[in-house]
């Protein structure tokens, strides 16, 4: 049984409608809202599974359904749905992980009075995300993209009474908007260049040969191919959403939201949107590969940005003390990996890593959430410790997640997807640098994850929260266990010996031989990272919250720089922020002096005119009116004297009038 493509709209519509309904249900019945959200998302999951089955039945065939949104002067704006393995696979992933996160939220937000709104926002987020994945039109995709941004803004700022949360929400919104500006410009240019925004339209879509050839053939400023320019603009949006380096600053701050939101945003759905966009428009990005004379290829930029992000995230994560912040930077790092993979041509590897990363990162975040929930919102790893006995289930699942993220060989999914990416980077013809950067990041990842695990679970409790911790309820641990299982199992979908996923996503995929040596290198690096981490943090657990970090003792200056996240925020504040302030000041000055002066001059003129007019009025015109008014008043006073208030008098007047009128009629000869 397959989902007819005409009914694709149901998948995003179910959660979206649920969001609307939840907004309307009374706030004192949060259970109702949560149940609605869960039911709607479960329905979406079932439909997405059906759609996936339909897409997998013939991976090469793209099921599309387009419809007219509205008619415009020169033609109709058409939107559409697309069912292909890429979109449906991710839709299943989003729905599954989302369902688990929803379930987890049931326990996490049980006591929150605004839980209803939370589930409303979650449903809106899920609906928008699903729509984004299944759209066959860049315009529809953009609409959903912005809805996702709105929902993430609402979710990050869910605890808006905390100034930090409100600030983080604003930051996330504005930072991603910068990327979205590029995306929007790219869309406009694309529409202008090709006349359509449909991805696939029976040969006329923007991702099909005809349009791609035209785009790659034309050139624009600086010798760039049009396709390169548009691709880079689109990549701006992807970078903003996926937290690539210049625009990554919002991602760690988004930790201020409730932990399920962190999981939702960082692990699976939202940040995946950027990678998904790159994968989706990969043909466009890759259109200029055949051109030799262009200054830069779009994919080279993508790969470079990805490599920088991967290393940056891993390095900064080493020195963070907030459990969620460590995980956030690990997300940044992993997203860098994915971009690197896409940039080096292995977008299937990127999606593979996206899937596995979604599972283990969600697992890590939710486990962290479980820890935070159990320790009464203690997030500082220096105050945690010794939780392995108090939270056995969480400890086990967190360890599995950590191993998957670190790339512990063979059993864990992260290993295989990371291997695929390294393989692709190794084989990239343009430069070997990204490959080496990625290898360094692998070691760093193993190191900081070992540190995190040791700090949180090993040793003795170092704070009140950790001392009184107790395991979370089943509604929270069951999703953890399920995610842990997925973190292990998903990796076997894309091993070098059986690359099912890759060949499903890309029918032209050909596995490259000779990965064994590379695999050995990466295993060695992982082992080194873990050993280093264990020797520094696990062997001699921290004893008090105030004790200095071992790394800080060795390389204090580097540690300080890393802890300050290499000063990105400060840099932005010093540059862009200062620039904006200066611009605003300049504008104000302009306003005050120049424009105000003009307006004051005009006002003076007006006042003079008014003065002259008043003089004319009072001396010339008014005298006549005054005379008339005096006359009226006198007349009125005279007439009011006849109003004696005596009813009889009135009747007398009536009678007299009657007699007069009758006489007039009789004598006047009105016959």
């Amino acid at each position: 049984m397959h989902l007819p493509v005409q009914l694709t709209w149901l998948i995003p519509a179910l959660p979206a409608v649920a969001a609307a309904v939840i907004a309307a249900v009374p706030a004192r019945r949060p259970g109702l809202g949560a149940g609605l959200a869960l039911a709607a998302l479960a329905g979406s999951l079932i439909l997405a599974l059906l759609a996936l089955a339909g897409a997998l039945a013939d991976p090469a065939a793209r099921l599309i359904h387009t419809f007219t949104w509205f008619d415009l002067g020169h033609g109709a704006i058409r939107l559409g749905w697309l069912l292909d393995p890429l979109g449906t696979l991710l839709a299943v992933m989003v729905a599954t992980v989302g369902l688990l996160i929803f379930t987890f939220s049931l326990g996490y937000l049980r006591d929150d009075p605004r839980a209803k709104q939370f589930f409303c926002f979650l449903s809106l987020f899920a609906g928008a995300m699903l729509g984004l994945l299944l759209a066959n039109s860049l315009l529809l995709l953009f609409l959903c993209w912005e809805l996702v941004g709105l929902a993430s803004y609402l979710l990050i700022g869910f605890w808006f009474q905390r100034p930090a949360a409100a600030r983080a929400a604003r930051k996330a919104f504005i930072t991603t908007r910068i990327g979205d500006l590029g995306l929007l410009l790219g869309l406009v240019w694309l529409q202008d260049a090709t006349g359509t925004l449909l991805l696939f339209d029976g040969g006329r879509g923007v991702l099909e040969t005809e349009a791609l050839g035209a785009l790659a053939g034309a050139s624009t400023v600086g010798g760039l191919a049009v396709s390169t320019a548009i691709g880079l603009l689109l990549f701006c949006g992807a970078a903003g959403k996926s937290g690539q380096v210049p625009l990554h600053v919002w991602l760690p701050d988004a930790m201020e939201g409730p932990t399920p939101v962190s999981a939702l945003i960082h692990a699976a759905p939202m940040v995946a949107a950027g990678v998904f966009l790159v994968a989706r428009v990969y043909p466009l990005l890759a259109a200029d590969l055949a051109l030799a004379s262009v200054p830069v290829h779009a994919l080279t930029v993508v790969a470079t940005v990805g490599a920088i992000t991967a290393l940056f995230g891993a390095a900064v994560a080493v020195a963070q003390d907030d459990i969620k912040r460590v995980l956030a930077f690990s997300t940044v790092s992993q997203l860098g990996y994915m971009m690197l993979a896409a940039g080096t041509g292995a977008w299937t590897a990127a999606i593979f890593h996206l899937l596995t990363h979604a599972c283990f990162q969600a697992l890590l975040f939710l486990s962290a959430g479980s820890v935070i929930h159990a320790t009464h919102h203690e997030q500082d790893i220096r105050r945690l410790g010794g939780l392995r006995r108090r939270l056995p289930v969480t400890c086990a699942t967190f360890t599995i997640g950590m191993m998957a993220l670190a790339g512990v060989p063979f059993l864990f999914s992260g290993f295989w997807s990371k291997e695929a990416i390294l393989h692709a980077a190794h084989g990239w013809s343009v430069s070997a640098l990204p490959f080496h950067v990625a290898l360094a990041a692998v070691a760093l990842t193993a190191f900081y994850m070992t540190r995190l695990l040791a700090e949180v679970f090993a040793g003795a409790p170092r704070g009140h929260g950790a001392e009184t911790a107790h395991e979370s309820p089943a509604v929270m641990t069951i999703p953890l266990v399920l995610l842990a299982a997925a973190s292990i199992g998903l990796g076997f979908l894309g091993t070098p010996w059986w690359p099912w996923l890759q060949s499903t996503l890309d029918p032209a995929f050909q596995p490259e031989p000779g990965g064994a040596g590379l695999m050995a290198v990466s295993i060695a690096l992982v082992a080194a990272g873990i050993l280093a981490g264990w020797s520094r943090y696990g062997r001699l657990p921290r004893t008090s919250p105030e004790a200095a970090d071992p790394l800080a003792r060795i390389v204090p200056r580097l540690h300080r720089a890393l802890a300050a996240r290499l000063g990105c925020d400060e840099l932005y504040a010093a540059t862009f922020g200062r620039l904006c302030t200066a611009l605003a000041a300049a504008t104000t000055a302009l306003d005050r002096s120049v424009w105000d002066g003009c307006i004051r001059l005009l006002a003076q003129l007006g006042a003079y005119t008014g003065l002259v007019s008043r003089e004319t009025d009072e001396d010339v015109l008014n005298s006549g009116f005054n005379a008339a008014g005096d006359g009226l008043r006198a007349g009125g006073r005279a007439y009011s004297r006849t109003q004696t208030g005596d009813a009889h008098g009135y009747v007398w007047m009536l009678a007299a009038g009657f007699v007069l009128v009758t006489l007039a009629v009789l004598l006047g000869g009105v016959r």
Partner: protein, 165 residues
């Protein structure tokens, strides 16, 4: 004609005496008698429904309201003060002038000469007229009556500060 003369004479006499009497109750009762006379005139003219309606409304309803008003507004002590007679002569003069004018007009005007036969306009025809061409006016009258009823209640029931008794 004799019947008409008798009716007119009785009615006018009742009205004239009513307006001359000092006792308000007697005046009111005599006026009611003159209303009955008018009803008799209607009956004589063949307007049966209007005649009974006149009795029902004037004798049955308005007279009650008048009598109530008289009883409620009686001066607290002693007989009614004398009418100021200064207005009497001009009043009668004016009334006479109006009567003269009207009579002159009636007698000098060319009046339509009807058949004189009793018109075939019974209750059924009246009902059809009322609910047919005049349905709007009927509704308006109903609204007017309702408003008047409410207004009368409000006016008569309003209790000001000065009403201490």
């Amino acid at each position: 004609m004799t019947a008409l003369a008798a009716i007119a004479l009785l009615t006018l006499a009742a009205a004239a005496i009513a307006l001359a009497l000092r006792d308000l109750i007697h005046s009111a009762l005599l006026l009611i008698a003159s209303w009955v006379g008018i009803a008799a005139f209607y009956l004589w003219a063949g307007a049966e429904f209007v005649a009974f309606a006149q009795v029902l409304i004037y004798v049955g309803a308005i007279s009650m309201v008048v009598l109530f008003a008289v009883l409620l507004t009686r001066p607290p002590t002693g007989p009614a003060t004398r009418e100021p007679s200064g207005r009497a002569v001009p009043g009668f003069l004016a009334g006479g002038a109006v009567l003269g004018l009207l009579a002159g007009a009636v007698l000098s005007s060319p009046l339509p000469a009807g058949t004189g036969a009793a018109p075939a306009f019974g209750v059924r025809e009246l009902g059809l007229k009322l609910l047919g061409p005049h349905a709007g006016a009927l509704l308006a009258t109903a609204a007017l009556l309702t408003v008047a009823l409410l207004g009368a209640v409000v006016l008569a029931a309003a209790r000001g500060k000065e009403d201490a008794s």
